[in-house]
């Protein structure tokens, strides 16, 4: 636990829940008749309701982006380094909203929720979600909160894809889009890694075709393995090398298959922690949403043509050692935006931390992000928006 809540923290926060009873049509053709979204807010909505910022989370993210749920919390929310008073997303100026996406396992309706039609949990029967589905559900949350226009929609990785989709789906409902460490679509290699993760889960004997809850078990091994594979793609070769090198847990090799290298121990620990905290069906669903994301498909692969319908201004950020969504992937989006004539700025941040860099404090990343967000806040406070 933090000895005291830091001054630049949003402090103790409490999740809230919103229930929606109008059916949501999904890309897969199915409909969710009713659902709940769990969310947190930080800062204060101004009288004009013009200072709201939506944060979209990544693969395993949650609604808990900043602050602490109690003084006993060991760690703050997942993006606490970037959300708080005086931080790039300055909660003394912005009203910040972050929700758990539909299909999640942290409080929003998802595979672990009860299906009202059967009275049993959805499990594998929960519909596969897409990024546009999420954006539609997020727009309903905006309605519920009385936010007609977001000052900005912001996200990293899969969250950045949602921000990009927002600017396409609801061009009138947002002024700025911040897309960090994202890609316009997955490559075959990206999909291949997701497929290995899915196979790891589905081949676990405890998976039971997704009905593990009926058998009072969890596919822990499979989910842990999926997370281990994923985790490797979040780090860079250098950051793993710096952190673990070839260090051994004991001082000699044992010519066996138990954990010997520190990196093995670390990955197993990460996998085990994750497999206790996350739902396997949600993981499958989230990786599918990633695989399916391809906004350019609507215009025969021409992203610039799709982005001509957008109206927002953009900030794109990538990280030098990110190989999951390398800088070149962000640059594809930047090029489409310049071709579409949209206002866009782009920075490629030097960082050793691979894809995970978008979560980690970095002076240049903070400077760029702050410069962009402060200009938005200045505009709002000058009444220009």
């Amino acid at each position: 636990m933090p000895n005291a809540i830091p001054e630049d923290s949003v402090g103790i926060v409490e999740p809230q829940s919103a229930r929606f009873d109008s059916p949501l049509e999904l890309a897969c053709g199915r409909t969710l008749d009713s659902y709940e979204l769990i969310y947190e807010t930080y800062g204060t909505l101004n009288a004009q309701r013009s200072n709201a910022v939506l944060i979209c989370h990544a693969l395993s993210g949650t609604h808990h982006a900043a602050g602490y749920h109690s003084v006993d919390d060991r760690k703050p929310g997942w993006w606490d380094a970037y959300i708080g008073p005086g931080k790039p997303i300055d909660t003394s100026r912005f009203y910040v909203v972050c929700l758990n996406n539909l299909g999640g396992c942290n409080g929003s309706t998802g595979p672990t929720s009860i299906d009202p039609k059967t009275g049993k949990i959805f499990g594998p029967d929960f519909p596969v979600m897409t990024v546009p589905d999420w954006v539609n559900s997020q727009a309903r949350l905006a309605d519920y909160l009385g936010i007609d226009v977001w000052a900005a929609v912001v996200g990293g990785s899969l969250g950045g894809m949602q921000a990009l989709q927002w600017s396409i789906s609801f061009p009138e409902r947002m002024l700025h889009t911040v897309v960090i460490a994202a890609a316009p679509k997955l490559t075959a290699q990206n999909i291949a890694f997701n497929e290995v993760a899915r196979q790891a889960i589905m081949s676990d004997p405890c998976f039971h075709n997704g009905r593990y809850a009926d058998h009072n078990t969890l596919p822990r091994q499979g989910l842990a393995l999926a997370r281990m594979v994923g985790h490797i793609t979040y780090l860079s070769e250098d950051s793993m090398g710096d952190k673990f090198g070839r260090d051994l847990r004991s001082d000699k090799i044992n010519f066996g298959f138990d954990v010997e290298f520190q990196v093995e121990s670390y990955l197993r620990y990460q996998g085990e922690m994750f497999s206790e905290a996350f739902d396997a069906n949600t993981y499958l669903l989230m990786t599918k949403a990633l695989d399916y994301f391809d906004p350019a498909a609507a215009c025969n692969g021409n992203l610039a043509e799709v982005l001509k319908q957008a109206k927002s201004d953009y900030l794109l950020v990538s990280f030098s050692t990110d190989w999951r969504f390398a800088p070149a992937r962000s640059e594809e989006i930047v090029n489409a935006l310049t071709q579409a004539g949209r206002n866009v700025s782009y920075a490629c941040i030097e960082s050793p931390h691979g894809h995970d860099a978008f979560l980690i404090p970095n002076p240049r990343y903070q400077a760029v992000f702050s410069a962009y967000m402060n200009r938005i806040a200045n505009g709002i406070e000058a009444g220009a928006l």
Partner: protein, 199 residues
Amino acid sequence: MSLNRPDLAIIQQWVKPNSRVLDLGCGEGELLNYLKTHKQTHGYGLEIDADKITACIAKGVNVIEQNLDDGLSNFQDQSYDLVVMTQALQALRRPDLMLEEMLRVGKECIVTFPNFAYWRCRLYLSLKGEMPVSKSLPHTWYNTPNIHLSTFRDFEQLCRSRNFHILDRAVGNSEHETHWATQIWPNLFGEVAIYRVSR
């Protein structure tokens, strides 16, 4: 808002209102910001320096992090009315190829560069026998980014050999020297060369 650099003050006069402008090596976005306000242009700056990129973003100038030595292949043919490059041509690996690229992407281009045949440079080299160091060329030979120094005459020879059409020529002097001699004999009295070029 005014432009402090004399070359920028001259360039802005050549920019038509509502142009689409690409500024290569845009620095802190001074020119683009001025053109956006006074000429209603739309465009982007390319820059590689981290602090300058942040300064552009803080001003609301569109800036894209890109190394000019990697070329402009991410920009389509004739997609801009004007491509500007101020005081950067001499720092590139292949200025000739960059000029070709600028005229592929833009209908016109404007370049400015330090004139190495400026009388002070000539005097410095001939009297001291050392590579000139001055306010517009502040580096020593071993750490200078200016690896392709040239003169008014050199540049015009290059344009002739590539069939580039010189639309305008001007002299930018740091001391705001407007001596008549700079117009008549720019290669000797012009400190900064400024050209507007098309195909």
